[in-house]
Symmetry: C2
Subunit: 248 residues, 2 copies
């Protein structure tokens, strides 16, 4: 095993169910001798990617929290959209959770969440959680705006072909509604956000209880999301011009 992947293999051992590991356990899990595992852990330790917990057990280190903060401070979508996200949740007027989600590398990932104070349900999403690529309004709103070449790369030719018509319709509508596709009893409403210059394809979505989606209210939320998403696009373009306009 070579280069970076040898380190990442260790880091990927850590999980919610197994948050701490001894070096012996790592060596075992990866099938490498202990001396090698110790060297690897020592390197990770010195970079802050793991820390010693106690009694020879190790856990993920502070570097991840710091780098995450950096992404929070610099992500153009968050800068343009976090404030609006909270406003949308407030204006929705019913119990709901708002999500900002983004195609990120090869994943569709939630990068910001905001629950209304009266939201009694807890949707399974939050910052840092990868979402299923082809299910749910949030992801579909994103896939619908993907150039077909990239879509194929992401989900494969067959899956892309199977979804082509549905996505074309969503693209025309500029909006996506899904009922119970992910959580039973919950519905997702999502509007796409695209900024070519930043290479950004994302969506703003709202998760609400299905039974609250009467006709008129659904229409109101649709308009709310679409206009909020458009406002985010405007801010993204503005931020980008500022960057280019400023002296290098």
């Amino acid at each position: 095993m070579a280069g970076l992947s040898r380190y990442m293999a260790v880091l990927r051992l850590f999980s919610e169910g197994a948050p701490t590991w001894t070096v012996a356990e790592m060596a075992d899990a990866l099938g490498v001798p202990q001396s090698t595992a110790y060297r690897t852990v020592r390197d990770l330790l010195s970079e802050g990617l793991v820390e010693m917990s106690s009694e020879a057990r190790y856990r993920l280190g502070p570097a991840f929290i710091e780098f995450d903060r950096l992404t929070r401070l610099t992500d153009p979508l968050l800068l343009a959209g976090n404030e609006i996200l909270h406003e949308v949740v407030k204006e929705a007027g019913i119990p709901c959770v708002g999500l900002l989600t983004r195609l990120y590398g090869r994943e569709v990932m939630c990068i910001a969440d905001a629950a209304s104070p009266d939201a009694s349900f807890s949707p399974s999403y939050e910052r840092g959680r990868p979402m299923p690529l082809t299910q749910g309004a949030t992801s579909k709103a994103i896939l619908a705006r993907l150039p077909s070449k990239r879509l194929v790369k992401l989900i494969g030719r067959e899956a892309a072909d199977a979804m082509r018509e549905e996505l074309a319709a969503l693209r025309r509508a500029g909006f996506c509604l899904g009922r119970g596709e992910i959580d039973e009893g919950l519905a997702g409403l999502a509007a796409p956000i695209v900024c070519e210059a930043e290479g950004l394809i994302a969506s703003l979505s709202l998760v609400v209880e299905s039974h609250r989606l009467a006709g008129a209210r659904e229409e109101r939320l649709r308009l709310l999301l679409i206009s909020a998403a458009q406002e985010m696009e405007v801010r993204l373009r503005a931020a980008e011009h500022i960057k280019e306009g400023s002296p290098a």
Copy 2:
């Protein structure tokens, strides 16, 4: 440059002021040939540690957000203390920001923050932000509980000697108050949290406007923080026993 550090050197280029880089810029900044830089970036890309932004620019990738989520879900201090942190802010009854801070690797780092709705000031702290080691109530409450050997390793012999008496007093008091040590006009109040079994040394602190710290109120907040910190220690020990008690 060898092994992991060669990759970290690239990642550490990214900052709030320079959130995106071209490969040529990286190669320049690090003094390596472009072909080498391209190979390094390709590896980082495939692990999700960087992503392509647009037009040959790269930014930090989704892996950091995912790993951060994992630390949020598994950090024993956060599991034991996040709820209490919010209660403390609520019960404080004045505009304030509550912080959970932890000795993390070689840094003192804030891992959770909660502002009261009426807090009009914005303290310079938040999750993922390293704090100055030897300044501010938050850090001092932690240093006071550090075994002197580790203290020396952390801040050096001279600095450790210079602080020895002050820290001994803080240790006896079980509490730390600092006025304007970090932000002019703000005061920090902090109580230590220690859990040997988890190898955890931390503090719970409250940032308030200095002028609001009348005598009686200061005393009330002191007691609030100390009892909340103790409750966290209790929960930490409970969580630890559950872990040990459960079948492997």
